[in-house]
């Protein structure tokens, strides 16, 4: 599913963000990526969704060499993956329904299919009654659920989330967590989730990859993480 081999990333301004990352994630796994701020978590996500190109090494996702994609092919690749961000990134001028439907219109799905699938997804993320609300009329947790709904609308095999609970209180975070677990369980979607929230990591135990200063310093199959002395 995900195969990173000897991946290095050095930004144009000279910042080294990742060193020799080797990573294998199988279909259907749920994996946390944790680590202190600046350790390269978001950089890894950006390499996976094609936003950044590795300086060295190959980033393989569902058999595609993501770093080698042409600019115009990147969006088409993204149809295979769903991405969720800390800041939701919803289109402010579109309603909840339209935001989710947009991800399907983009891939030229037929109109009635779009409508049916959007209803389905809204039901899945528990927003049946918010179809005509605009993003700024929703709570953070609700907005994040719209974003997750949009990300999974066209049934991607991989869902990557960069601190999806970063702006949410613990109760809402738990809700989002359960939603992601449900998606992982019911659809077999591989989930890769960056988080800062150690309480969450320790509560919902999953395979946990720890980054520090751009290196993978631990890959804990059983999950759970106790912060060691800095």
């Amino acid at each position: 599913m995900i195969e990173c081999t000897h991946v290095y990333k050095k930004y144009r301004n000279g910042t080294n963000a990742l060193y020799d990352i080797n990573l294998n994630v199988a279909q259907g796994e749920f994996v946390y990526i944790i680590g202190p701020t600046g350790s390269g978590k978001s950089t890894l996500i950006k390499l996976l969704d094609g936003e950044e190109i590795p300086t060295k090494g190959t980033v393989g996702v569902i058999g595609i060499d993501v770093g080698k994609l042409r600019h115009s092919k990147v969006p088409i690749y993204r149809r295979n993956i769903g991405v969720v961000f800390q800041d939701y990134r919803l289109l402010p001028s579109k309603t909840v329904f339209e935001n989710i439907a947009y991800a399907l219109e983009v891939i030229n799905m037929k109109k009635d299919l779009v409508r049916r699938r959007t209803r389905e997804v809204m039901n899945l993320v528990g927003l049946d009654d918010k179809a005509n609300s605009f993003p700024n009329q929703l709570s953070g947790g609700q907005q994040q659920r719209v974003a997750i709904g949009r990300a999974i609308a066209n049934r991607p095999k991989l869902l990557i989330a960069d601190e999806p609970t970063g702006n949410l209180d613990p109760a809402m975070s738990d809700e989002i967590m359960s939603l992601l677990e449900k998606i992982n369980r019911e659809y077999g979607t591989t989930v890769l989730m960056v988080t800062h929230d150690l309480t969450l990591v320790n509560k919902h135990r999953k395979r946990t990859i720890v980054l520090e200063h751009g290196h993978v310093v631990a890959d804990l199959a059983e999950g759970g993480y106790v912060q060691h002395d800095q």
């Binding site: 950044e52 190109i53 115009s72 990147v74 969006p75 088409i76 993204r78 919803l90 289109l91 983009v106």
Partner: protein
């Protein structure tokens, strides 16, 4: 399928409305440049027409020697003339036809009577009338023809016309270049204002790419929006051109200074010119927005 065509139109229209202030400022930039372009357009096209009219009056007449009147000799000469660079059409008249023209140039019958006896002992020459493709080369071409075998006499009309033609030609080129430069300026202006509207929606574009929208899908509404703004900006220049030119034509009576400088009739031209402006506005908006979206799309992977 219909949706694919309809969506950009709908979204583009929404964009114009939603970003009303910016649309209006872009449209104003287009309006101002198109007004100036319109002036140059009308000027240049009219000058062009005058030049062409004058060029047609400039011909070279070649009289053929009496000892060169056999069909072969004349064919030979015609071929040699046609081979000269800058020679357009070549028309041949026999000396009888020439004589008849001469007679016909007199109004009163008495004078015609006087010349009639000469018909059988015709002093006229067979002749070629030559139109040149480039009025400025008139003199050179005439000289070259003079050197050919069997040429009795070469004459051409309107040395002053020739100078005028070359002057008008310069003016026409300058006008064309200016109109083009102004159109480019308009592209630049609209590109800049549309860039602002796009920058305001940078997040939107990034999100579109995030959810897998192809570049064309993202671009098309913006391009439509640009075209609509361009069309909007063209409205005032169109009206000004349409009514302005008709008014100008009426007031001047259709010519400037002398009958030689006739204006293009207002009837279809005022309409065509304003349609050209509409086309130009749409094109400018289209190209301008195309470039600025592209630039932004490249920005973000």
């Amino acid at each position: 399928m219909i949706n694919r065509l309809f969506r950009p139109l709908k979204e583009g229209f929404r964009g114009v409305i939603r970003h009303g202030a910016m649309s209006l400022s872009s449209a104003t930039a287009v309006t101002l440049t198109l007004i100036i372009v319109s002036l140059f357009l009308i000027f240049t096209v009219n000058v062009n027409q005058m030049t062409e009219g004058m060029e047609q009056t400039v011909t070279i007449s070649v009289q053929i020697d009496h000892d060169h009147e056999s069909a072969e000799q004349e064919d030979q000469l015609a071929m040699e003339i046609k081979a000269i660079e800058g020679v357009g059409s070549v028309t041949y008249y026999t000396k009888d036809e020439e004589f008849q023209f001469y007679l016909d140039s007199f109004e009163d019958e008495e004078t015609k009577e006087v010349f009639e006896p000469f018909r059988d002992d015709n002093p006229m020459h067979d002749a070629f009338y030559i139109e040149v493709t480039d009025g400025t080369q008139l003199e050179e071409i005439a000289k070259k023809i003079e050197e050919l075998d069997g040429v009795h006499k070469v004459a051409f009309g309107g040395q002053s016309a020739v100078q005028l033609i070359s002057m008008l030609r310069t003016i026409r080129i300058a006008g064309g270049v200016l109109a083009l430069a102004l159109s480019l300026l308009a592209v630049f202006l609209i590109q800049n204002t549309i860039k602002l509207t796009i920058l305001a929606r940078a997040d939107e574009i990034a999100i579109m790419r995030n959810v897998g929208a192809k570049n064309g899908f993202i671009r098309s509404p913006f391009v439509v929006e640009g075209a609509m703004i361009g069309a909007l900006g063209a409205l005032i220049p169109m009206a000004m051109t349409y009514y302005g030119y008709r008014y100008l034509y009426d007031v001047t009576g259709g010519y400037v200074v002398s009958k030689m400088f006739t204006l293009i009739p207002a009837k279809p031209f005022a309409l065509y010119a304003s349609l050209v402006l509409l086309g130009l506005g749409v094109l400018v908006g289209l190209i301008g927005s195309f470039f600025s979206v592209n630039k932004y799309l490249r920005w973000k992977r």
